[in-house]
C-alpha cells in the first residue's frame, strides 16, 4: 500500500564562525575605462561567490555587472577571505567588497560632483553613468569621470574588511556567538510503500530567510541542492565503518540522490534584511540542507505513525518498523 504524509522541519543558523573573529578583506580598483577589478580572498567553489561579490561591487559603484572582473582565491593577489564555510562569504566577503567599493567610490563621487557642479550627496551613479539627483537627462559617463580623476592625479581604489560583531562565549557558553542568523522551514510530502519500506519524497516546500537575495537563482540553486542532500541524509546516506575500515567508499554503495529521485521543489525566498549584511544579505548555503531531513522524518510519521530517531531511513529500516508495529497491534 502507498500512503502519504506531510511533515515540517525548521532551523536557524548563525552566519560565520562561532564566537570567534573571522574577517575577510577585498580590494577594488576602478580603471580609467570604467571597468573594475575586484581582488577577494573568498574561494568560489561553485556556489557563486564570484558572481555575488561582483554584483555587490557593481551595485555599489553604479556600474553594470559586465564591467566587473573578479580575481578570487589567489594568495599572491588577493587579501584573506577566510574559509568558504559557515555560510559566511556573502555576508562577510560581501561586506568587505562593499566597503572596498565604497572607498574606491569616494574619488569618483568627488570628481563627478565637480563635473556635474553639485554636492557629492547629489551624485547618482548608475549603469556606468552619473547625474545630479533629479537631472536624469543630463548624464556623464563613467569614462568621463575617470578621465577627470586622471587629470586631477587621483585614483579610484579601495580596500575593505569586515569582521562580524560576535563575541567569545564565556562561562556556561554565554555571549554573542553570531552577528546574524538565517532561518528556514521545509515542508515535505512523502509516499511510503508499506510493503517494501521504500520512501519517495514527492514535494518539498522550502522557505528561507536569507536577508536579501543578492542573486535569486543562486539562492534557489543552493536551496534545491540542499533539499536533495537533506533527502540523502534522511533516507539513504551512511558510511559503514567497521573497526576503522570504510566498507562503502564509492558512488555505487554510498547512496546519494539521482535526478530520478528529485521531488518537486518549491523554493520560497523570504527577505528579512539584516542591518549588518551587505544590502541586507545573510547566507543560505548550509541552511538549505538542514530542515529537509527533519521534514521528511516528520512526514513519514504522518504517513505511517512511526517516529524514527535513528538515521538513515532505508527501506529495510522502515519496513522492519512497520512489521514490528503490526505485530504489536
Amino acid at each position: 500500500m502507498l500512503v502519504r504524509g506531510k511533515g515540517i522541519g525548521c532551523m536557524w543558523y548563525g552566519i560565520g564562525n562561532t564566537g570567534l573573529p573571522n574577517p575577510a578583506a577585498a580590494f577594488v580598483k576602478v580603471h580609467i575605462d570604467g571597468s573594475v577589478t575586484v581582488l577577494a580572498g573568498c574561494a568560489d567553489i561553485g556556489q557563486g561567490s564570484d558572481t555575488v561579490l561582483s554584483q555587490i561591487v557593481a551595485e555599489t559603484l553604479g556600474v553594470t555587472f559586465d564591467k566587473v572582473y573578479i580575481k578570487s582565491g589567489d594568495t599572491e593577489a588577493t587579501p584573506e577571505g577566510g574559509a568558504t564555510s559557515a555560510s559566511r562569504q556573502t555576508y562577510i566577503s560581501g561586506n568587505a567588497c562593499h566597503f572596498a567599493a565604497l572607498e574606491a567610490k569616494e574619488n569618483i563621487v568627488k570628481v563627478a560632483s565637480e563635473i556635474l557642479k553639485c554636492d557629492e550627496e547629489e551624485v547618482v551613479l548608475i549603469n556606468n553613468t552619473a547625474y545630479k539627483n533629479g537631472c536624469e537627462d543630463k548624464t556623464i559617463t563613467y569614462k568621463e569621470i575617470m578621465l577627470g580623476l586622471k587629470s586631477r592625479g587621483l585614483l579610484a581604489i579601495g580596500k575593505g574588511q569586515f569582521n562580524p560583531s560576535a563575541s567569545a562565549l564565556v562561562e556556561n557558553m554565554q555571549g554573542i556567538p553570531y552577528a546574524t542568523y538565517a532561518f528556514a522551514t521545509h515542508i515535505a510530502e512523502v509516499e511510503v510503500n508499506t510493503e517494501t519500506g521504500e520512501v519517495t519524497v514527492l514535494k518539498i516546500v522550502a522557505a528561507h530567510d536569507v536577508g536579501k537575495a543578492i542573486n535569486k537563482k543562486n539562492v534557489e540553486g543552493q536551496i534545491e541542492g540542499g533539499c536533495l542532500m537533506g533527502m540523502g541524509f534522511a533516507l539513504s546516506e551512511k558510511l559503514i565503518i567497521n573497526n576503522g575500515h570504510m566498507k562503502n567508499p564509492d558512488f555505487n554503495s554510498y547512496i546519494i540522490q539521482t535526478a530520478q529521485d528529485m521531488p518537486e521543489i518549491y523554493p520560497i525566498i523570504v527577505e528579512e534584511e539584516s542591518g549588518e549584511g551587505p544590502f541586507g544579505a545573510k547566507g543560505v548555503g548550509e541552511p538549505a540542507l538542514i530542515p529537509a531531513a527533519p521534514a521528511i522524518i516528520n512526514a513519514i510519521y504522518d504517513a505511517i505513525g512511526i517516529r524514527f530517531t535513528h538515521l538513515p531511513l532505508t527501506a529495510d529500516v522502515v519496513l522492519d518498523a512497520i512489521k514490528k508495529k503490526e505485530e504489536t497491534k
Partner: protein
Amino acid sequence: MKEFNVIGKNVIKKDAVDKVLGKAKFAADMKLPNMLVAGVKRSEVPSGKVININAEKAKKVPGVVSVLTYKDIPGENIIGIINKDEPILVEDKIRRIGDAIAIVAAEDESTLEKALELIEVEIEETQGVFTIEDALKEDSPKVHGDTNILAEKILKRGDVDAAFKKCDVIVENEYSTPVIAHMFIEPEATLANYEEGIITFYSSTQNPHYDRGEVARMLGITLNRVRSVQATTGGGFGGKLDISTQCHTALLAFYTNRPIKMVRSREESMKVSSKRHPHYMKFKTGATKDGKILATDVELLQDTGAYGSYGLAVITRSMVHAQGPYEIPNVRIRAKMVYTNNPMSGAMRGFGVPQVAIGHEGQMDALAEKLGIDPVEIRTKNCFQTGSVTATGQKLVDSIGIYETIKKAADKAEQIMDKEGK
C-alpha cells in the same frame, strides 16, 4: 523597498561560460612541462606503530624521481585548521586507515603505482578504539596524549531541572545520525611548482589562505614565499577545508624542482577526507499544556575520529543551535567530543546543526502529538521573534524571519500538497 540595478537580479554567473564550454581548469586538468605525478603510501591498519619504512626498492624503479618520508620535512610536521594534531607524514603512530606514510613522485602513473606497492612499511598493529563508549573508558588506548576527549562543554541558561517540574508534558528521545560523506564530484587535486624560491600550488580547496600557512610552516619558510591559488573547485560542502594534497605536492616540488601533480582517486578521497561527525543525542523537552516550551535538556556525544579537524567548531555550533529556532527560557546542553581510530570527522555543510536539527525537530513533533496540537502551530507559538533571548543570552534584534518562513511554507504546502494526506 529600495530599487536595485544589479542586486537581486539573475545575472550570468561569472564562471558559467567557461564551465559549459569545458574550458574551466580544475587542478587535475592542469599541466606543466616536465611535470611529475605523485601519490601517497597510506596505512592500511587503523591503529599501530611504524617500526620501519623501507623505500629502497621503490627508489630503484626507473622513472621514480623522489620518495619522501617525515624525515624530509624541513619545517613542522603537524597540521590542523583549529587544533594542530595531524602529521603530514606519520612519524611513528598510526591513528587511522589512510594515514600518510610516504610520498612518491614519478614520471608516469604506472611507475608511480609500482613504486607505491614496493614501499615496505613495517607496522606493529595496536588495539584501536572505534566507539565513543570505548573511547571514554579510562583504560582505553589513547589516540592522542592521555585522554580521548577532544572537548567537553556545557551551555546553560535558566534552571532546567526546576522548569521540568512546571511542565505539563515532557518528551524524551534518543537520536543518532551516521557518518556522512560530502561526495563532491571532483576528487581533490593539486599541481605544485617550485621556482625562483617561490612555491606555487593550484588546488581544489575551500580555503587557499589557510593552505598557504600550512605549507609555509611545513617548509619552514615565510608566507610571502608561498603562493596558494584556488583552481576551479568541483564542490566542497566542507570536505575541502582540510589540507588534502597541498602539503604533499608542495614538499615533492620543493625537493625535485619539478612540477608535481597529485589527483586522488574516489576511494582515496572518501577514505581520507573528513566526514560528517556521527552524533548520539538525548533530548528531553518540556512544555506547558498550552504548548509553550519551558525547558530543553540535551546531551550530545560526537566522534571526531582520528583527528580534530573542524571538531571544535562542530561541538560549539551544535550546542548553540540545539535548542532550535525557538525561545526556550531554560536550556542545558552538554556535549563531549572524542577521538577514535575511525575516519576523521570535520566540517560538513552545517557543522553539527543538521544533526541536532534531527533532535529538536523530532522533539517538536513529539510534543505537538502529546499536546494534541498541530506541528505548525507549536512552531509558530515558540519560534524566535524580535527581542527573543537565545540560550547563550543573546537578544535577537533584527532580521528574525523564522515566523515568516513557517507561515509562507505552510501556506504554499496547503496549496500544492494532497489535501487527503493519505
